[in-house]
Symmetry: C2
Subunit: 449 residues, 2 copies
């Protein structure tokens, strides 16, 4: 049953009542549960029942286009995951947070707090915030340039890593008799002084169970891939074909040795939006039900944002107009190219493109039986395109329940997925070694890079 003993990883990427943009309108969801923290705690418990590695909540620091058509996230991810932490015992808890619009001291602290609360299950999806609407909420007239955002991210992470190492793991002594609370020789100022940040430290919290959160990244631009190769331990990525998936996987893994890292130190998890039913025909019909609920005006606004071109007056049954070059895109570069190439390769009209994107905003949608979905995952895993998967249920909780109760048992039978948790931390689930508590040596300031 075992495939050379290798098993893969599963993250559940959760969003409101489902990833499909029309999920809240479909009878399989209860739209008011968008506002109900118990809905999300229940999702955490379902993921844990399936022995999933982690759950993940993305974030945007602005409402999206066309508020009349679709939802912002009601909950901020770190507070939400804190509430989910107390409803679960094993599943990892990953939150998006922005390096462009936070202070490193505050964010390092929040993840340390979440890691303490969850006993070692915190993960950080590091984003640079690629939407202009976000920039307007933080004093900018336009989105900061792509390269500048990544420079800031690099320096931000340097500060955070220093802060997380500012308490050695055995610094806390708690000797009640002699009154020694902590060993001052094991709690360090970081005296960080870079281009953007000056932070003295130490962090105002003892080292957390994992030492720091699992570092996750999801941008697939050139800068994004380099950043991931240097720092990330898991990467969420949108790959639409097995061939593209393999190419991305090999590309990313080949970059790690440059940073003194082994390819195993980074897990690649392509996204999949699964529509699951007893027969393939029923699964496709279910997907079509959701597609039929998409509001074209809303989808056009979303597509305009992704492509950096105003399509709101564009004919639905025509192909895309000429698009700018990726180098001119200041928002998310890799998503731009993915959508552009999809439309070109499959010669799609705008209406067809909208349908393809509705499930997961560019991520691959797959409609099939539980067996077919298991086959698909196995094939990607065994072809060297994935270390695991970022499962994006189109509707919730049903889409997650079906995956956990119908697909996971097949993967377990095939020896591809764990049947019990064998680790206690998120890092452990992903097969990563503990972060060593190192004798503090400040990381050199990343001057200009």
């Amino acid at each position: 049953m075992s495939h050379s003993g290798k098993t893969f990883h599963i993250n559940a990427f959760l969003m409101g009542v489902g990833h499909h943009e029309a999920a809240w309108r479909h009878p399989r969801t209860e739209e008011h549960r968008l506002l109900d923290v118990e809905h999300f705690r229940e999702l955490g418990r379902i993921a844990e029942r399936g022995r999933l590695d982690s759950v993940f909540f993305a974030d945007n620091l602005a409402v999206g286009p066309r508020i009349e058509r679709n939802a912002p996230a009601v909950f901020e991810p770190i507070t939400l995951l804190s509430a989910i932490a107390t409803a679960t015992e094993h599943v990892g808890l990953i939150a998006t947070a922005s390096t462009s619009y936070n202070e490193p001291f505050n964010l390092a602290r929040k993840f340390t707090s979440l890691d303490h609360i969850s006993h070692g299950r915190a993960g950080w999806n590091i984003v640079t915030s690629g939407n202009a609407e976000e920039a307007y909420n933080f004093g900018y007239d336009a989105i900061p340039e792509h390269a500048r955002r990544y420079e800031r991210a690099q320096e931000f992470l340097d500060v955070a890593l220093n802060l997380w190492d500012s308490w050695e793991s055995d610094a806390l002594e708690l000797r009640t008799a002699s009154g020694v609370f902590a060993d001052p020789d094991k709690v360090h100022r970081i005296d960080y002084s870079g281009e953007r940040f000056r932070v003295r430290g130490p962090l105002n919290s003892p080292r957390s169970p994992q030492g720091r959160p699992l570092l996750v990244q999801a941008g697939s631009s050139e800068s994004g891939k380099e950043f991931a190769a240097r720092h990330a331990e898991a990467v969420f990525t949108a790959q639409r074909t097995l061939e593209e998936g393999r190419r991305f996987y090999q590309d990313l893994k080949s970059r790690l040795p440059r940073y003194g890292r082994s390819p195993d130190e980074l897990k690649v998890l392509p996204g999949l939006v699964p529509f699951i039913a007893d027969t393939a025909e029923q699964a496709r019909a279910l997907e079509q039900e959701f597609t039929d609920l998409i509001s074209p005006d809303y989808a056009l606004r979303q597509l305009s944002g992704m492509l950096g071109v105003d399509l709101t007056e564009h004919a639905l049954d025509a192909p895309l107009p000429p698009l700018p070059a990726e180098s001119d895109i200041q928002g998310g570069k890799s998503r731009f190219t993915l959508v552009k190439e999809l439309a070109e390769r499959e010669e799609l009209t705008v209406r067809q493109l909208i349908g393809k994107l509705g499930g997961g905003r560019g991520h691959r949608t797959f409609a099939g039986t539980p067996e077919q979905i298991a086959d698909e995952l196995q094939s990607w895993f065994e072809s060297g395109a994935a270390d695991g998967f970022n499962i994006m249920p189109p509707y919730l909780p049903g889409g997650l329940t079906d995956f956990v109760d119908r697909v996971v048992p097949i993967l377990q039978q095939r020896g591809l997925f764990r049947t019990e948790y064998t680790a206690t931390t998120l890092r452990g689930h992903y097969g990563l070694p503990p972060v060593e508590s190192r004798r503090f040596t400040p990381i050199p300031t990343a001057a200009g890079a």
Copy 2:
């Protein structure tokens, strides 16, 4: 039994394993519970069993002096309260957060998220962060000037109030049939442009149950009192004598009409550190046990910080050296004056002063029987010095349990405190009306003030 039907309010100000700086060394505490989120969730449940209005966690964005002697808070308050929210149903949840070292969009969002998670129980203790150590973690070489910090706080709050009003309460429509998610005419940009902040809005979350968190304030300097009179709905304050308490109460309440507010719209809650035992003598002996565990070297560093004077080489059995004027203090002005006046009035040596301050860093300590403590609270309430109390248990959970199980029943019998919750929100507990969802009208920018 009723005192003209008027009852008072109780907040439990919680800190680690107790407010007394030596709490972690005393056999009544288990020092490792500092790191245990279940300890804090249990405290929330105990407070709720006592029908308390709220629990409160303070915060500092830096470790304190002498890490070998005492503890930073392990948990960041908002993440911690999110975890407590799911263990409780009624009790209010108040967190300190800084206007000097956050972005208003992020903080407004976090409190909205906590208010959604707790179904209307979030409160914000607005602080400007008065310690130099905090400034060093956010790019400053010295603490920003007191007046500048309050100017920023004013503008920060203007932005946050605008953001909280950016979603009208009935903006969310969730009409599944027609696909109308929200009414765009009820979701507003704020287009705020001030001296320090430019924020477009709207907030990226629908209006929360309370509309916004309860606004709490705890600085008693002149700027602090004006800020409180303008904005605060509850004030935590350190008052050591009934006479001082009455003067502060009258002073603060008299300032409200200037801002078009009635005195009832702000609740004044002086702090009290209660040592509770069967006899007054036992209570005093218990307090002495804690005092005996204070490390003088640590206390001297703390006192040096409060007074802006280096006392670490000062003789313990001598009086204080000459002190600067309050106008020269850039940190917490009111705490400086409280400590200075206490030492002068009672002609204390440094050692005696340290003992007096050990329980609650300047807050009033009272050792007595449950009846005596109830008498003391009743006397302050009926003398016009308090609308309620900020109870600071010196050790936890025992000090909170004793207060809830032994003092609260007496207050209830006397008709001074609720026997059941009659409201569902934190604002409701404090007898404050709901925040009206107003048709959005931007607040004029506070230019330079």
